[in-house]
């Protein structure tokens, strides 16, 4: 049953991606100021939204883990973090690819890119920590705490970075993403693109989550076997 859901999500994701690609390259008109390169926007922005949303998932999973216990919450958070990290990376790469032809630099410290970059560092820290702790029960607890604290920090980060950028408007170019999408075709394209990326995220997340659950179950089985082995010595 669960496998059917995951497979259908995968198929849906493929369909939506193809639809989005068509709309981005054929359907939507070229943007007046920025030209063809602007089409990256339809990929870049949804990736950013997903990256932030996924981090929220990590934090919520962490709260449930600390509150209710149960390895499933940790597997949820772990899966969300890995998948979210992927889309965060894609957002940064697409941002760089957009910046280069637009302004001649590989990176700009505009407020959204900066905030997402810090989010990327937070993801990286979370995932590295999971690798660096040996005891599996401690990993879950520590990861939960880090996820919660980092997620609470994100709004403060966004606010401070935004304030930081407003004092140096002349130094670096500010990108106005999503500035007045006048043409309804642009809005439609953005929505389809968002749907495609969200469904792809959901599919990848569920695949990874299922893997992690399998791992947890295998560990429980192995523990049972080890216990049975010790018991045979009692006879």
């Amino acid at each position: 049953m669960a496998r059917k859901i995951v497979t259908s999500l995968g198929v849906l994701s493929l369909i939506l991606v193809i639809a989005a690609l068509y709309m981005v390259f054929e359907y939507v008109p070229t943007e007046a100021d920025e030209g063809i390169v602007q089409r990256i926007f339809y990929f870049h922005v949804p990736c950013a939204w997903i990256a932030f949303m996924a981090f929220g998932l990590v934090a919520v999973a962490g709260i449930f883990y600390l509150w209710l216990g149960g390895q499933i919450w940790d597997d949820l958070g772990h899966g969300a973090a890995e998948t979210g990290m992927l889309f965060c990376t894609l957002m940064l790469i697409s941002g760089s690819l957009w910046a280069r032809p637009m302004w001649g630099t590989w990176w700009t410290w505009d407020s959204r890119l900066t905030s997402t970059f810090i989010l990327w560092l937070l993801y990286g820290g979370y995932l590295m920590l999971r690798v660096m702790i040996d005891d599996s029960r401690q990993v879950a607890r520590f990861a939960a705490v880090i996820g919660i604290v980092a997620a609470l920090d994100v709004p403060v980060i966004i606010l401070s970075v935004r304030l930081w950028r407003t004092i140096h408007p002349a130094v670096l170019v500010t990108r106005q993403g999503g500035h007045g999408l006048e043409d309804p075709r642009m809005v439609a394209t953005l929505l389809v693109s968002l749907a495609a990326i969200t469904v792809t995220f959901a599919w990848l997340f569920l695949v990874r989550f299922a893997e992690l659950r399998m791992g947890t179950r295998l560990e429980a089985l192995a523990r049972g076997i080890a216990l049975a082995e010790v018991r045979t010595g009692d006879i």
Binding site: M128, I133, V145, V149, A150
Partner: protein, 223 residues
């Protein structure tokens, strides 16, 4: 409350006896400032803006050392277990460690301010009074963040990498706000100019002290 006082007094007594942590923090702050003096182009890099930035870099690095030491002080003879066994509540333990880290950081900060004035061509004037509360807010925020994180990273491999890796991105808002507010204070700007930044610092401190207070019990227990 009694536990908080007993533990803090014990930590301060230990520190007064050996002075290891405060000396280490002051030394590190000084070294960071020296590196920055030589690394930055002297033609451009004198004055309140750069001075504030350099001082906060020193604060961050000495803060990481301070938080680590405050917790590893309990690793000899398994003393942390003695504390966990006792009736002392985990939040009180957190508050005591946070207070100790904060005090060590403020001592290092005071030394750092003196170095900063000397290295970056500033004056020992009223601006020092305006900068002190900003530094205190920054130190409190960092101490609360790093004490919570250090309890986690001390159990990880590559712990001296993991603490900065986690602490630095999380500290960014306070770092941005703190440097801007300090620069404003050092250039003689009125308090109102830095109002937004101070607001961010306060919000950051409230967030992390509360989060640490609530979450510390989950990270300090052993399994």
């Amino acid at each position: 409350m009694a536990a908080f006082t007993a533990i803090l007094r014990k930590d301060l007594r230990l520190e007064l006896r050996s002075g290891q942590s405060t000396i280490a923090l002051v030394a590190l702050a000084l070294l960071v400032l020296v590196v920055l003096v030589f690394a930055l182009d002297p033609a451009v890099a004198r004055g309140p803006e750069t001075a504030a930035g350099a001082l906060w870099v020193a604060l961050v690095f000495s803060g990481m050392l301070g938080a680590t030491r405050v917790l590893t002080a309990e690793s000899e003879n398994g003393c942390i277990r003695g504390l966990l066994l006792s009736p002392a509540d985990r939040a009180g333990l957190y508050a005591a460690k946070l207070a100790a880290a904060f005090i060590f950081m403020m001592v290092a900060e005071a030394a750092g301010v003196v170095m900063m004035v000397l290295f970056f061509n500033l004056e020992f004037d009223a601006a020092m009074m305006r900068v002190a509360p900003v530094l205190a807010l920054g130190a409190l925020g960092f101490a609360s963040l790093a004490t919570l994180l250090a309890a986690i990273t001390s159990r990880a491999r590559a712990s001296d990498l993991m603490l900065p890796l986690l602490a630095v991105p999380m500290y960014v808002p306070a770092l941005i706000a703190g440097v801007r507010a300090s620069a404003a204070a050092l250039s003689g700007a009125p308090f109102s100019a830095a109002r937004d930044w101070i607001g961010i610092l306060i919000a950051f401190d409230v967030l992390f002290v509360t989060a640490g207070y609530l979450l510390f019990e989950h990270v300090i227990a052993e399994e």
